[in-house]
Each structure stands twice: as structure tokens, then as C-alpha cells.
């Protein structure tokens, strides 16, 4: 028999909203960091010689893709495995929170990519391996969220979600390797000689990657707390029904 571990979520104190100073500071640093990133991307970074100003979309496009494919869906994968091994619903809640953030960042990637591609490739969309595998990944994790939304909370939903999360994650290395395995028109940033980028452009990219990663951590903490609050609401409803 599987039982949820009785880990009580952080109590909600009046006026605090269950928040902490460290998390609030992380939120402020992330938002200010993103605004500085916006300045660096739009005004500080040099204009790319061939593509012109539209290439500046890259500084937020690639970090969005990184956060989605790197931390977000990998956390879903790891926490899904941990749930299946330990049967602890805390891991299911972290996976669900991370999947939602991953879908949000994949959406940004899938919308900004075509807006960058249209003036460069002459088309918003091509069935290029990188684009197609990323779209498939988006569909998989949207299905994951729909599955969760349409099932009752508990171990059955957590088990099903974990299986979808693990199987869905298999697409992540395929997305990453797609531009190496198949012929593609998608730019290859890192090759055998290192990074194909001017040092000042590389600095802006690295900065934005760091800031987006911080933003991901902040959003994940907030979403996991909300999942815990949701689970507390479910427990209170059950308590009320049993009276």
C-alpha cells in the first residue's frame, strides 16, 4: 500500500502568503536581472554582420530553450523516477511544477524562433529536425499537464504522470542532438572548435542563460509551494467530507 508522507506544507501566516525573504529576494534579483539582460541584448550587444538586429532575439530565445530542455524537463524526469522509487508525492508535485514552467519556456522558444526565422530563412516554419522535435516535446508536456488536470489527485495520477514524464523526457536528448544527427538549417552554436560567437555576444548569452536559470529556480519554488497548498486544500476537503 502506498501512503503519502505526512509532510505538512509551510504554514500560511497572515499577510505573509507563505513567502520568505530569501525567495522574495530571489524574485527581485531575477526580474532585475532579466531587465538588465534586455538592455544588454537590445542595446549593448553588437549588431550581427549578416542577420542584423533581428539576431538579438537569440539572447532570449536560446536561454528559454535552455531552461525548458535543461533544468525544467530534466527535473521532471529525475523527480518522476524518484516518485516511482520512493512513492513520495512531494516528488510528483515538484515534477508537475517544473513541467508547467518547461511548457511556458518551450512556448516562448517556439514563438520567438519563427519570428527570428522569417526574415532570415524567408519562412516562419520549416519541418526542420530541431523545430519538429521541439514541437513534439511541447505536445508531450502539454499532454502531461492535460493528463494531470483531468485526473483526481493521488498516487494513480502521480504514477501515470511519472511514466509520461520519463517517456517524454527521451525527446530532450533527441532535440539536442537533432542538429548533429540530421541535415538542418538551424544554427549550430557549439561545434568541434568551440562556440561560434563573438566574445561580447557570448558574454550576453552567458549572462542571459544565468538569469533565466535564476528565474526558473524562483518560479519553481513558487509553483512547488502552490502545489503544496493545493494538496492541503484536497486534505481539508477530505476532512470536511468525512465529518
Amino acid at each position: 500500500m502506498t501512503m503519502e508522507r505526512t509532510v505538512e506544507p509551510t504554514p500560511i501566516k497572515a499577510g505573509s502568503g507563505g513567502r520568505s525573504l530569501v525567495v522574495d529576494a530571489l524574485g527581485v534579483v531575477s526580474v532585475v536581472g532579466v531587465l538588465i539582460g534586455l538592455y544588454l541584448a537590445l542595446l549593448w550587444a553588437p549588431t550581427e554582420a549578416v542577420m542584423g538586429d533581428v539576431q538579438r532575439i537569440f539572447y532570449f530565445h536560446m536561454p528559454s530553450a535552455w531552461v525548458a530542455l535543461g533544468p525544467s524537463f530534466t527535473v521532471v524526469f529525475v523527480c518522476s523516477i524518484l516518485y516511482l522509487v520512493k512513492k513520495d508525492l512531494r516528488y510528483d508535485r515538484i515534477a508537475a511544477a517544473s513541467a508547467e514552467i518547461g511548457v511556458m519556456f518551450t512556448t516562448i522558444t517556439l514563438v520567438t524562433g519563427p519570428l527570428w526565422a522569417r526574415p532570415i530563412w524567408g519562412a516562419y516554419w520549416t519541418w526542420d529536425p530541431r523545430l519538429t522535435t521541439t514541437l513534439v516535446l511541447w505536445f508531450i508536456f502539454v499532454a502531461y499537464l492535460m493528463l494531470r488536470a483531468s485526473s483526481s489527485p493521488g498516487h494513480k495520477r502521480a504514477r501515470l504522470s511519472a511514466v509520461v514524464g520519463i517517456v517524454g523526457w527521451v525527446d530532450v536528448p533527441i532535440v539536442f542532438m537533432s542538429i548533429r544527427w540530421w541535415r538542418t538549417i538551424h544554427p549550430l552554436l557549439i561545434n568541434g572548435q568551440g562556440m561560434n560567437l563573438d566574445p561580447s555576444m557570448a558574454f550576453v548569452l552567458m549572462y542571459c542563460l544565468g538569469v533565466f536559470s535564476l528565474l526558473y529556480v524562483y518560479l519553481l519554488i513558487i509553483r512547488v509551494r502552490q502545489e503544496e497548498l493545493g494538496s492541503r486544500v484536497d486534505r481539508l476537503r477530505q476532512q470536511l467530507l468525512m465529518r
Binding site: D53, F60, V111, W116, L229, L236, Q239, L240
Partner: protein
């Protein structure tokens, strides 16, 4: 649309998606806190 138009559209989309997501999170937070307070009140009333 000019190159600059695509650039603005790209960054506009990013802020809209992020803004809608943060707004949704805020609404959800308020709803959850309200639900907990209401349920705790009902439980106290019945006990």
C-alpha cells in the same frame, strides 16, 4: 514587417507570455489561500 518589427514582436511575445504566466500564478495563489481559509472556517464551525 521590417527586421526591427520582428525583433519587437519577439520580445513582446516573451513579455506577454511571462506576464500572463505570472498573472495566472498570482490568481492561483489568491484562490488557494481563500480556499484554505474557507475550508478551515467550515471545519472549525462543524467541530
Amino acid at each position: 514587417m521590417s527586421d526591427i518589427g520582428f525583433l519587437y514582436a519577439g520580445y513582446g511575445v516573451i513579455w506577454v507570455v511571462l506576464g500572463v504566466y505570472l498573472f495566472t500564478m498570482g490568481r492561483r495563489q489568491v484562490g488557494l489561500k481563500r480556499d484554505i481559509e474557507r475550508l478551515e472556517r467550515e471545519i472549525q464551525r462543524e467541530s
